[in-house]
């Protein structure tokens, strides 16, 4: 939410280690809340995802466009991430450079989760091969950054995609007719799976004060779903993109410390559990409405 972190705060977060200031265990995430909404007039679907105080809004809209020449029978999925000054004080127009880097990181993650993991059946978005396909646009804006915006943005994007219904079309000869939302029931997108980004803040704790009983296992620790203050104090970050069936679709890691294979495997399996839980939240909140 705000800038400078003092040494006092950083040291305290490290000293607490696995006991976190807000009472969570290291492997516990914050409360999740999804709110979905569909606009009957424009057909847009939106999803507001909250992880604690972090809040992201994703809006999905579709329009018929000409396909790319090299993929004449595939639809197009576009992801756009917006970080405005509303999300955090220093995401300001005057600090464009800083904002650009963070936005790029989040959109790389989202593209990894949405595009490269083949989550949407793009061929199903084709209307007339080589002439018209659906272009699905996902706009994710971070409304409030209280840490872990990548996970929250990813959650919002999938919530909105699962909730979205595109207008029905019929093709007779050469004419394409797009039906009004009132005339014919709109159709859902076929979402194959929902790989979600699950992040851990990683800490090196060699500077823990005077405790000789620190074993090798305790030298490093991790915190699932870090808050903004924990992110400021962290040494590195691990984001695992994994779906409910424990299939890994991507791993991103920034900074230190180096992880041993066993530790990485443990984090990945924790991420898979969390992802399965979040997938259930998505399906519950998109079905109920």
């Amino acid at each position: 939410m705000m800038g400078a972190q003092s040494d006092v705060e950083k040291a305290f977060i490290r000293r607490l280690g696995r006991f976190r200031g807000d009472g969570r265990e290291a492997n516990m995430g914050r409360d999740v809340e999804l709110k979905v909404h569909r606009n009957r007039a424009t057909g847009q679907a939106q999803c507001e995802a909250r992880l604690g105080d972090t809040c992201a809004l994703a809006v999905v809209s579709a329009s018929p466009v000409a396909p790319f020449a090299d993929r004449p029978n595939e639809g197009i999925l576009r992801v756009n991430v917006v970080l405005s000054a509303m999300g955090r004080e220093d995401w300001d127009a005057s600090q464009r450079r800083n904002t650009g880097l963070e936005a790029a990181q989040v959109s790389t993650l989202l593209e990894n989760a949405l595009l490269e993991s083949r989550t949407i059946d793009l061929e199903g978005l084709c209307i007339v091969a080589g002439r018209k396909v659906w272009c699905i646009q996902v706009d994710v804006s971070i409304i409030n950054d209280a840490g872990n915006i990548a996970d929250c943005g990813c959650l919002a994007a999938f919530g909105a995609l699962c909730h979205y219904r595109r207008p029905d079309v019929s093709v007779v000869g050469n004419t394409v007719k797009i039906f009004d939302l009132e005339d014919r029931e709109p159709v859902p997108l076929s979402v194959h799976h929902t790989p979600l980004a699950i992040s851990f803040a990683l800490f090196r704790s060699e500077d823990i004060d005077g405790d000789s009983e620190v074993t090798k296992d305790q030298e490093k620790f991790f915190l699932l779903d870090p808050t903004d203050r924990e992110e400021l104090a962290q040494d590195g970050k691990l984001t695992v993109i994994v779906n409910a069936h424990r299939e890994i679709c991507g791993v991103h890691k920034f900074g230190s410390p180096a992880l041993e294979p066993a530790q990485l495997a443990r984090l990945v399996s924790l991420a898979a559990e969390r992802s399965a839980f979040l997938c259930k939240v998505i399906s519950e909140s998109t079905v109920s409405s």
Binding site: M1, M2, G3, A4, Q5, S6, D7, V8, E9, K10, A11, F12, R15, L16, F19, G21, D22, G23, D211, R229
Partner: protein, 277 residues
């Protein structure tokens, strides 16, 4: 002599009250009320006298007073009114005690972040007993308790660690009122909560103190520093303070008792280990 001066002071105050048309006895009748932006509160304000002093959230438009911040209208004797509202952006005010973080260091001054929209300056010599040769050196990230010494709308605010009135201690002794805060934990809260904690009638801090001993520094800029014997205690106190934000004073003791009880449920060996550190 002492008796005489109190009498004079009493007379002086009585005279002031007389000038304002006498202090009515029905002050107790005033109840803090919720007000909204743009609301005309002239009637409310002139109930106890024609002359009033308006604080934050109130603005005079010719012959009426309107509200500029949605919140709760408060009143203090003899004629002071202000609106307490939920806000996060601090606006520096002269002589406020604040907590700030060093973000940049220069030869003449430190640049400080105190959550006020612009950075603040702390001159390197603005410490009691500091000279060019003998002065504290702070690194980036040092947490400092200071007072706002200068505010101007076209300039960055200036902080100072020199005590204006009251006992002065040299910065070297480590006992001065202002200066670096070491250890413990600092967290941010709304300005409303910070103001409430600064009010000595507020029940939150004394109630916590009756359960756990601790040190606290409250910055009017919505930063609170807490230090106690153990990390778990610090975390407990921070959460207790945050949880009390929207509770009336009467309900505070019960909540804090509950929190302390839940925290004490942790395994005992854990607690003993903490004591040794």
């Amino acid at each position: 002599m002492a008796g005489d001066s109190t009498k004079t002071a009493d007379n002086f105050l009585a005279g002031l009250e007389g000038e304002m048309g006498g202090v009515p006895a029905n002050f107790a009748e005033f109840k803090p009320t919720a007000v909204f932006v743009g609301q005309d509160v002239t009637q409310e304000l002139s109930r106890f006298g024609k002359q009033v002093r308006t604080g934050s959230g109130l603005h005079q438009l010719r012959d009426k007073v309107v509200v500029t911040q949605a919140g709760v209208l408060h009143f203090e004797q003899p004629n002071i009114y202000w609106v307490e509202h939920y806000d996060h952006l601090y606006r520096p005010r002269l002589e406020d005690n604040v907590i700030a973080v060093v973000t940049e260091t220069y030869a003449e001054s430190y640049h400080m972040d105190m959550r006020c929209g612009s950075m603040a300056q702390l001159p390197t010599l603005a410490f009691d007993g500091a000279s060019k040769r003998n002065r504290p050196t702070y690194k980036v990230g040092t947490l400092v308790y200071a007072r706002v010494a200068q505010v101007h709308k076209d300039m960055d605010p200036e902080l100072s660690c020199m005590v204006l009135s009251g006992p002065k201690k040299d910065w070297m002794t480590g006992e001065s009122l202002y200066g670096e805060l070491k250890g413990g934990y600092v967290f941010t809260c709304s300005l409303g909560l910070a103001n409430r904690l600064l009010d000595e009638r507020c029940a939150i801090l004394p109630t916590i103190a009756s359960h756990v001993p601790y040190e606290v520094a409250v910055g009017a800029n919505g930063m609170i520093w807490i230090n106690a014997r153990r990390s778990e205690e610090i975390a407990l106190i921070c959460n207790a303070v945050k949880a009390c934000e929207f509770l009336p004073d009467a309900q505070v003791p019960a909540l804090i008792r509950d929190l302390v009880k839940t925290a004490a449920l942790k395994p005992k060996e854990d607690a003993e280990k903490g004591d040794k550190n």
